[in-house]
Symmetry: C2
Subunit: 172 residues, 2 copies
């Protein structure tokens, strides 16, 4: 279980101004890893800061058990990818990201540290070979566990007008 080693990872310690809470006594549901994500990045410092910074092609390696579940995926231009950030601590409620320096709530951030360390990325599908999907738009570590793949529907998923106020204020 990834959780067993999570809080031993000093790379993800608490910074000044950050706040952790006691985690619930037990879990409520469980996940299967459905495959792995292959990326060029072996260390956290190597990862792009933002998925749009990189045109690197990454690979979703889906476990052969789920091969038939990919039927029709090749007709999608973009996919929603959910993956498990298995090296993150789960008890932070207030975080001080290195690049911002101001405390923000976990649910106002895309930080990997969150109660359920599930990342959501929208990727462009550039190739399918059996159970391997080549995609552009990820920024995660190599060997990251894959949780889900979904078709991206512009009609319900694209909101070009969306604003993250704290982020805009920072740039102004």
């Amino acid at each position: 279980m990834p959780e067993a080693t999570m809080n031993d990872d000093n790379e993800f310690g608490i910074r000044d101004g950050e706040i952790a809470v006691e985690l619930p006594a037990q879990f409520d549901a469980s996940l299967y890893f459905i495959g792995r994500i292959r990326t060029p990045w072996k260390r956290r410092d190597d990862c792009p800061k933002n998925a749009r910074e990189s045109e690197a092609i990454c690979t979703l390696e889906v476990d052969p058990r789920w091969a038939q579940a990919l039927t029709g995926v090749e007709t999608c231009s973009h996919l929603v990818v959910l993956y498990w950030m298995n090296r993150s601590r789960r008890d932070l409620v207030l975080q001080v990201p290195r690049t911002y320096g101001t405390g923000r709530g976990t649910f106002a951030l895309r930080s990997p540290a969150r109660p359920n360390p599930i990342a959501m990325s929208v990727v462009k599908l550039v190739g399918v070979a059996g159970t391997r999907l080549s995609v552009v738009g990820l920024d995660c570590l190599d060997d990251t566990p894959l949780i889900d793949i979904k078709p991206y529907f512009a009609s319900t998923d694209a909101f070009a007008e969306a604003v993250v106020g704290w982020h805009q204020a920072r740039k102004a």
Copy 2:
């Protein structure tokens, strides 16, 4: 554990043309429910077919434990919401949705039946009162377990040009 009762739910049986696989022998990671989603829909048949069909205001009720994690969320116009579709079977790889009638792979569908029944919806945030967020854009059952809330960034999450080929072909 929701998994315990999942496969007893006859509402989610197998249709002609659907294919199930044997699930892995064990789980790989675990989740905490961070709250509940309140919606007007008590039965599956009452839910809108598509989140854009309804302007109903739903409520994300976040557990008080995570209250500080909401700091800054009020500055976001749109949020990514992850939730747990706890009544769905997890072993289907090929599905025949009632409304389409053609077999599609699970990863080419937004069906709740998937190895990890996590739904992703983009919602418009219309109000915050303590740990209760009022949102528009959900189509799930009342009392659905909440897993995560993230800020929606148009710069990485909005792809207006995205196409789901099998879906377009169906309409043509």
